[in-house]
């Protein structure tokens, strides 16, 4: 028996957990009591993570489609098939017809090698991490405004803050451990302000709860900024010294009117004022937001960053901005350059000097052209021209934004899937390569607080080739000999490719609980909080946000705002959840009551319209209508209809231009709702 510390593979919190294992069997999982991110607390997913390691559903041999059926074959046969088909597609259509997409659960090592194969072996920047429709917005916003595409604050800041400002994220579902930090902080006297379009377990406990209409966040944040300005809470000295565009931002803030904003948001002006005052008065205020369980307009996030900058709290203990990632290695795959416009370390593909560096490191110059995104491949109007697609731990079919991915998938001449389990995508795959499951995998994840930590194997299945190894083998077939014999060797190269990882090696990760980047030769211990060592002048960039115009409303007969929600049911179709009995039961318990799916409306609306829980309901936009089942719950605010993203019929019926453009938090769809005779 052994007790091995590893990192939870679910959300981005990066909880330290132990796996108990015996020779070839995982026996259980439990939390580390001293890990700085979770301190003995893990969520249901963590407590059941060992189920993943023991399910017989694990893939063990490659599958190759023969006569329409996936059949088990030897590794050599599958690799040969893939290499030949890739070569043929590249010679016919050029490298732009190939795309390499990774899920945010790949280890850093796997992700790094995947993008290297794409760029070095095939000469394409068509690499993306698949959750870009949500996340890349947040990363771009952070990169543009703070110059660092990651969270400046750390999780333990939640316990140090005087005030927590929660921006539109259901912490109880998405990052429950952080939700727990919030509850505990509140119990010890920290004030909590929550802005949300749903009442969730955490927002319900907030001292000040703001439930604006979906699509009105810019007015709300504009009004909060205006109150900060009026009451002299804005740290003008900080803005003048450290922020570009401060004057423009201050001018635009003065254009907002509290009463008008309150009316548009449908939130009492006193509450907005109270929230803003509490935020302005706090000695250390921490804003918590998400990199995007929900697709949002980048301006929404700029407004949040502006609020953080206005108080000048960055780099201070218990203050600033904590941006939470939804998946265990979302931060890491982005750091590794699994982005169409960035090489490892967020080097733009247009930066010549940096490209020289990569040419020296790789012996090949990556193309000076941004690649296609996962959204281009799967959500767009089939114009990406991709003929061969490599998916590593990524299944577009389980994501809200890609509910029409099957159209693109059917057109592929080659679809290679690397997965530990056969997920829905298997239906379209030509080849499926097994990957090590959690508990077998060796590598590193980077958590939401920039903590690079080990994922350690506790059982070994020699029959399954790790992702980096298979890709290295593939590279060899194309004449590239890379000398990696273990994940630690890949990390050695990552240290050279990514400047802020340069001090990270497997040896240093053996001590304590990983290292937080930037971790360099000068800072071998890593960096807890960003900006703590002082700031440079004009380091940050603020974004002026004009008072938005009122969105075109189709008329009073369409009074409801419909939003396709991801966060509450975020884990619902997750490959890991689906392979764990207790998790599957818990995450699907609502579907037992509503077997055909449901949309949610508030009890006051339901009563007025004579809509009953569990009964049919008709939703109509000016263009289309659809019939589905109502779930009547006060978790949603009056005037809104919330559609869990997996209820496909609704998404497809009300589809206009791709989900990321409609029905989002920033742009709801206006609909009418009526009961429906069954």
């Amino acid at each position: 028996m052994q007790q091995i510390l590893t990192t939870c593979p679910f959300c981005g919190v990066g909880c330290g957990i132990y796996l108990e294992a015996e020779v070839d069997r995982v026996l259980g999982a439990y939390p580390s009591v001293t890990h700085p991110a979770n301190r003995g607390r893990i969520c249901l997913r963590g407590w059941h993570v060992h189920e993943l390691c023991i399910t017989p559903a694990r893939l063990r041999k490659p599958l190759l489609r023969k006569n329409g059926q996936l059949e088990e074959v030897e590794w050599e046969e599958a690799i040969r098939f893939v290499s030949e088909r890739l070569e043929s597609i590249r010679s016919r259509y050029g490298p732009a017809a190939l795309a390499f997409l990774a899920g945010p659960r790949c280890t850093n090592e796997d992700a790094y090698i995947l993008q290297k194969v794409a760029r070095v072996v095939f000469g394409t920047n068509n690499v993306d991490h698949g959750y870009g429709a949500y996340t890349n917005t947040a990363l771009e916003v952070l990169l543009r405004s703070l110059k660092v595409p990651a969270s400046p604050a750390v999780i333990e800041d939640v316990g140090e803050a005087d005030l927590l400002f929660i921006d539109q994220v259901d912490l109880s579902r998405q990052n429950p451990t952080v939700g727990g930090w919030v509850i505990r902080a509140r119990e010890s006297g920290t004030k909590v302000v929550a802005v949300s379009y749903r009442r969730d377990r955490i927002t319900l406990q907030a001292d000040i709860q703001l439930y604006p209409q979906p699509g009105t966040a810019l007015w709300l944040y504009g009004a909060i900024a205006k109150v900060l300005w009026d009451r002299g809470f804005i740290d003008l000295e900080f803005l003048q010294k450290y922020c570009i565009n401060a004057d423009e931002v201050l001018r635009s803030v003065q254009q907002y009117d509290l009463l008008r904003a309150a009316e548009i948001c449908d939130v009492p002006p006193q509450l907005i004022e109270e929230a803003a005052t509490a935020y302005g008065k706090a000695k250390s205020a921490l804003i918590l937001c998400s990199t995007g369980g929900e697709a949002r307009d980048p301006l929404d996030l700029h407004a949040v960053v502006n609020l953080a900058l206005m108080r000048g709290h960055l780099g201070r203990k218990g203050a600033g901005l904590l941006v939470l990632t939804e998946h265990c290695n979302l931060q890491g795959v982005c750091d590794m350059g699994v982005l169409p416009g960035y090489l490892p370390g967020y080097t733009s593909v247009f930066e010549d000097e940096a490209m020289d560096r990569f040419q020296t490191l790789w012996g090949v110059r990556p193309p000076k052209k941004a690649g296609v995104t996962a959204t281009d491949v799967f959500a767009g109007a089939n114009s990406s021209g991709i003929r061969a697609c490599w998916l590593m731990r990524f299944d577009p079919l389980i994501l809200a934004g890609f509910s029409r991915a099957f159209e693109a998938l059917r057109r592929m001449e080659l679809l290679v899937v690397q997965e530990a389990f056969l997920s829905p995508i298997g239906k379209y795959a030509h080849v499926v390569f097994p990957l090590p499951a959690f508990g077998e995998e060796d590598g590193t994840y980077t958590s939401t607080e920039r903590r690079v930590q080990r994922v350690r194997p506790v059982v070994f299945t020699s029959s399954v080739m790790p992702g980096w190894q298979l890709l290295t083998e593939l590279a060899k077939r194309f004449g590239h000999r890379w000398a990696y014999s273990k994940p630690a060797d890949v990390m050695e190269e990552i240290r050279q490719a990514v400047p802020f990882y340069s001090g990270i090696g497997y040896e240093s990760l053996e001590h304590s609980f990983g290292r937080q980047w930037p971790c360099t030769q000068d800072r071998p211990g890593g960096t807890t909080r960003l900006f703590e060592d002082g700031l440079r002048e004009r380091q940050f960039v603020m974004t002026p946000i004009k008072v938005p115009s009122i969105p075109a409303h189709p008329g009073p007969e369409y009074p409801f705002r419909l939003v396709f929600g991801q966060s509450l049911y975020f884990w619902h179709r997750d490959t890991y959840v689906n392979n764990s009995q207790v998790l599957l039961r818990e995450h699907r318990v609502l579907l037992l009551d509503y077997p055909d799916g449901f949309v949610e409306i508030n009890p006051t609306d339901a009563e007025r319209l004579n809509i009953r829980d569990g009964r049919a309901i008709k939703i109509s936009s000016p263009l289309q209508s659809v019939v589905t089942t109502a779930r009547v719950t006060d978790e949603v605010r009056p005037g809104t209809v919330h559609v869990p993203f997996f209820v496909r019929e609704v998404a497809e019926a009300l589809w206009i231009n791709g989900a990321e453009e409609i029905g989002t938090l920033s742009k709801p769809v206006f609909v009418k709702v009526e009961p429906c005779a069954e």
């Binding site: 052994q2 007790q3 108990e20 026996l27 009591v33 003995g40 607390r41 399910t55 505990r184 377990r201």
Partner: protein, 356 residues
């Protein structure tokens, strides 16, 4: 009860002797100040830690595993045959604390003490040898959340162990709790003690008990009375329930929680296994009935169930002891800080209006 003295350095010898008959599991230090129960080997035997924080992952897993294969079944033309897969490995838990001993006693009553005897539990339990260590060091043995004193389970177990070790400073006292345990008192490195050692034991225990008063304590009696008489208001339960994030952690770490679910898994054509896995009353899917009705749909209804079962007097009568051993693990793992001590405190303050 018979007792002997043993030198600190000879404790390893005792472990070695146990290793001849048992797989010995003992506490070790891990990352940070984490502690774990792990199997003793020749490589790690010198690193056994008897004065450390009680490991968070409870030793109940050695009688009720987190995941356990119950049987294998084969389907053929003639029907279904099931072959049980019992675990009968002889195992010694070396360094199990008094609270966890009380937990195993509670589970014994549940799985073995009534009409139906659980054959899986039985086989693991009767092959288990328990070496209890008395908690004598405040700060390490007795942690921040310990309240065994209030649960009447520690710091020294009165029974339920095969052997009990207690640090008397210069030497350790070894007490035999069973016939099985008393065999080990005849080993050549066990020395006889005298009245001064018994006196010393009493003094140390008395000192440790008094040091608990700086720590978190739990006024069970008030909570038991209020819960048993249904005098805890709905709003108090709602307040408690709101803080639950439904992780199930409190049940998983609880030395007395015994709920499990079963799952059948196909292994190959015609062959499957039945597993049982820890489950928790915190979870909506656990309380939902097959017909679709969920008597405890609201989270606070599930939370109050936990405290009813642990503290209401009818359950104490039925189960033989209160369902809390004072180990404090639930207080560590709970996201919402609604472990047993704080719930008892919330109830006491709300319902009795006590401010202190």
């Amino acid at each position: 009860m018979r007792a002997r003295l043993i030198n600190r350095d000879d404790i390893v010898k005792l472990v070695r002797i146990l290793m001849r008959e048992y797989e010995v599991v003992a506490p070790f230090c891990s990352r940070g100040s984490d502690t774990v129960f792990d199997v003793v080997t020749e490589e790690n035997i010198d690193k056994i830690q008897l004065h450390v924080r009680n490991p968070i992952y409870p030793p109940k897993r050695f009688v009720l595993p987190h995941v356990e294969q119950m049987f294998e079944f084969q389907m053929s033309e003639v029907g279904v045959s099931a072959i049980p897969t019992y675990n009968e490995k002889p195992r010694a838990l070396f360094g199990i604390r008094s609270c966890d001993i009380a937990g195993i006693k509670h589970l014994d009553n549940f799985f073995l003490g009534r009409e139906f005897v659980d054959p899986y539990y039985l086989r693991q339990r009767r092959n288990l040898f328990l070496v209890n260590v008395v908690c004598t060091e405040i700060g390490t043995d007795v942690g921040e959340y310990c309240f065994c004193l209030c649960a009447d389970t520690g710091p020294a177990a009165r029974d339920g162990f095969d052997l009990q070790l207690m640090d008397l400073g210069d030497v350790w006292m070894v007490v035999a709790g069973t016939e099985r345990g008393s065999r080990y008192l005849d080993l050549e490195f066990m020395a006889r003690g005298d009245d001064s050692h018994i006196k010393l034991r009493r003094e140390i225990l008395s000192r440790v008990r008094h040091q608990f008063f700086d720590k978190q304590t739990s006024w069970f009696s008030a909570a038991m009375r209020l819960i048993t008489r249904l005098e805890v208001s709905e709003s108090t339960w709602e307040k408690i329930g709101r803080r639950c994030l439904e992780c199930g952690g409190c049940s998983f770490v609880c030395p007395t929680c015994s709920c499990f679910t079963v799952d059948d898994r196909r292994v190959s054509a015609g062959k499957a296994i039945r597993m049982r896995l820890w489950d928790s009353c915190a979870l909506g899917g656990f309380t939902r009935m097959a017909g679709g009705f969920n008597p405890r749909k609201a989270v606070h209804d599930r939370r109050n169930r936990r405290f009813f079962h642990k503290l209401a007097y009818q359950f104490v009568l039925r189960d033989g002891s209160i369902g809390c051993v004072g180990c404090g693990r639930c207080a560590v793992v709970c996201h919402g800080a609604i472990g047993m001590p704080s719930v008892v405190e919330i109830i006491r303050r709300q319902e009795l209006g006590s401010q202190d």
